[in-house]
Symmetry: C2
Subunit: 491 residues, 2 copies
């Protein structure tokens, strides 16, 4: 088969790249670190967008659009933010090209230098808070609950399709509030929305928690995160929500008159998920045969493949197949009847397995005689004969079962990969031999965190919400600790 | 009233700007020529996007995403394209900032100069055809029917909100075909989709036609256009579709093996509409009181305003109002019940007129007694008492009637503004005294076209589809002409 993937056991990283390219999800482009998202990959992203956007709107948010370019000086207004974000970014210095006076092509027109350089947004807190300044004067103007779907750019040195690219697509919510409590609740609420989306739509179980100071977003007082576990035992940060305190309001002088008629700085949050979720989706469920997609995000939920030798066989099968197509569509299920006669059924089976279509229906003359069809599940790779009678309804239930099964499988794996350890030796051994999340006592200092990272590559993924207090000693420093935190090697 | 608009008769251009800002559609940003699209404006754009996207998908297109940045050298591959597009654009020259060694803030790191400059896409033909090269080898790979929703940037000198901004949002379709005929049909089909959208959703009548050579897209063999007429008698090009021939395939060496097993260059189209449509929508229908939105694109289709003095009156009205809200929602109608007690009904009436909400329902104690409500139409500014019984259904019909009425009104105006002239004096007089489209004989040369533009500012908007052949003489040169073309002064 032309589209064979490197097996996961041989080289997980190569398997991932093979899969992304061969399943037509994305590919590298002529521009360093930037990807082309191909139609099949984009169709999955669109389904994610639609579901997330509905969830944002249900929680009272509206969409808006802010400029792609940010004046350089904005970035240095918030001191921590510039350290974390403003360095590796695309800088626009000129606004015109001219014909090369020495020959072919075009060159930058030296006369068209900008007075102040502009940066392609790596994230939009600065330009948005500069805008909010004009929108807010009284508590009556609050809260502002805006979201933006946009492209952003960070000049990453090592890039991987979907997981880390120079340009990526994302949404960024930016909210403004009259009180600290309201902003904190908003940041946590949006993290819950992300967790719900990951679990109910992507079928990816996640751990909700708060980041250590060291792993916080540049400019935030608290960063909340959802952490997922990939099949190779590495963690993947899948969405973050930040309580920004009054930092950006102070940097951009955004004050409001509160109910007591006093001037006060506005409280802020921001939160985002990106096309990185595509990486999480792919790596959570897929296998050596290709993608495994949860039915709720699959662009094609059911494919029907006719098995025939003679034209009249195809005609008879088509009649049954088109009836099934109509029945499935009436139930809101996306379905493709692949009667392309240039390709053999075996080729099609492999192709739709690669593409992760959740349910495959095969129909041959003998099935027709018996009044049934062969139904194959992508998640378990099992096959079953089912009668035509009530087939669409049965497939609908099957899709729900697959969605559920994919989630439970990922959850069982994830839960089996959380290991409690009480010594640094055990910690290191688990990281090497097993991987996954390691739950361990930590003394709460950035110093210890960085030492552990240096020696093992593991970082604190989060301090889980609802963590039980537990007295213990830090696995690294031996100092007292009051709770366990989750470490892992991550993407 | 704080939000008064400059009357159209006094200063149409100022009226437009006032309206865009005061109705919370968009505002200028800190970045020259770039706008912030505010939530209310964006909600209209989202409705446009959704409707267009559905139409693209119904005609077999899929979405994808290509890089924001384009290598400078790509732009000069297609000779005409670079002349038309590559000059006024944002140029990325560096990929890193550093702390200013002399003090505060950040500066561009001179070490981080890019080997080849990158351009923020002004349009994506070049990067997309460079990608298609890898997707196409046989006629079996064709057609490719891709669309992209994206931001683009053109460094315009004079900008106006929505109509001409440095950054704007748009969709760009890029298709690849095995035959000339198929590509030409595709370009025309998409123009028909645009015209349908303009007329059925935006309620904006448009004239479909082909551009003269002079007004063609840089790199196209033919550019098709839909042209709308604004209330001030100026034309607005609202969407274009280009038959690109084999120009980009040749520039990027994209060949395929055809059914006769011979290598051939691929045939191409591209087509786009942008946030400029927001300008067309606003200027087609709105009046001195504010926006007039066609119901199909109105974020809020119906607003209910309670008229009361005492709390118990509000309670009684609310009961009725919430029932109406539920009934309208059940019919798929978006509705807002504005019971905010900080604002007087008069303020609310003016505000929702400004925002273009198509139907306003007012309910006071006396209406309740009589079992009716006051229904006001935004398009005609008329009011009518209607019984509660069957009110939601009546409003649904009213919304259809308003959609229809807005379109007919614009159509009647547009048709009254097409004037046939047979001399250059008459041509000039009509342009000055009346405006609108002027239908006149033209000798078919670019020279004449440019002279007329120089002397009158009028350009050939299009040669309408289905134009009747008619013998005559060019109004400017007196040379023979075989058909009339449409001139206008345009945005």
């Amino acid at each position: 088969m032309a589209k064979e993937l490197t097996p996961r056991s041989e080289n997980y990283s190569q398997w991932y790249n093979d899969l992304v390219v061969k399943a037509d999800l994305a590919e590298t482009s002529a521009v360093r670190g930037c990807m082309v998202i191909k139609p099949y990959g984009y169709a999955i992203w669109e389904k994610m967008q639609r579901a997330l956007d509905d969830m944002f709107k249900e929680t009272g948010h509206v969409n808006a659009y802010f400029p792609l370019l940010i004046p350089k000086s904005f970035l240095s207004r918030e001191a921590e933010h510039v350290e974390g974000f403003a360095k590796e970014c695309a800088v626009v210095t000129h606004h015109r090209l001219m014909n090369d006076p020495n020959g072919k092509g075009v060159v930058v027109d030296p006369e068209a230098r900008l007075e102040e350089e502009l940066i392609i947004r790596p994230t939009s807190e600065t330009i948005i808070w500069n805008t909010y300044k004009n929108w807010i004067s009284s508590y009556r103007d609050l809260p502002i609950l805006c979201n933006q779907w946009a492209n952003v750019m960070r000049w990453e040195m090592r890039t991987r399709l979907f997981l880390r690219t120079a340009e990526f697509l994302w949404q960024e919510g930016h909210t403004a509030h009259a009180t600290r409590e309201e902003a904190e609740e908003e940041a946590q609420k949006m993290l819950r929305v992300y967790a719900d989306f990951a679990e109910k739509w992507m079928a990816v179980p996640v751990i909700k928690g708060v980041k250590s100071a060291n792993e916080r977003f540049a400019g935030a007082l608290d960063t909340y995160t959802i952490e997922a576990l990939m099949q190779d035992g590495k963690a993947l940060q899948s969405g973050t929500s930040h309580f920004l305190g009054q930092n950006f309001a102070k940097a951009f002088d955004v004050q409001f008159v509160n109910k007591e008629n006093k001037l006060e700085y506005v409280w802020a949050t921001s939160w985002g998920v990106s096309t990185r979720l595509m990486g999480a989706l792919i790596m959570s469920h897929s296998d050596d045969n290709g993608l495994v997609l949860p039915p709720k995000l699959a662009p094609i939920q059911v494919v029907i493949v006719p098995i025939y030798k003679k034209e009249e066989e195809l005609a008879a099968i088509s009649e049954k197949a088109l009836q099934l197509v109509a029945d499935l569509k009436a139930l809101g299920i996306s379905v493709k009847f692949d009667d392309n006669d240039q390709k053999k059924p075996g080729w099609k089976f492999a192709e739709y397995e690669l593409k992760g279509v959740p349910v495959r229906v095969a129909m041959g003359p003998r099935d027709l005689e018996k009044g049934e069809a062969e139904i194959a599940r992508r998640d378990t790779l099992t096959k079953e004969q089912m009668p035509f009678e009530g087939l669409a309804q049965r497939i609908k239930l099957l899709l729900d079962e697959i969605q559920d099964n994919i989630y439970r499988k990922a959850l069982t794996f994830r839960d089996s990969m959380i290991t409690c350890v009480d010594s640094y030796d055990e910690f290191k051994r688990v990281l090497i031999e097993k991987g996954g999340f390691v739950s361990a006592h930590w003394d709460g200092t950035t110093e210890t965190e960085e030492k552990i990272k240096e020696e093992t590559k593991a970082t604190i993924r989060c301090i889980p919400f609802g963590n039980q207090p537990e007295e213990g000693t830090c696995i690294y420093s031996g100092k007292p600790s009051h709770q366990r935190v989750l470490f892992a090697i991550s993407y």
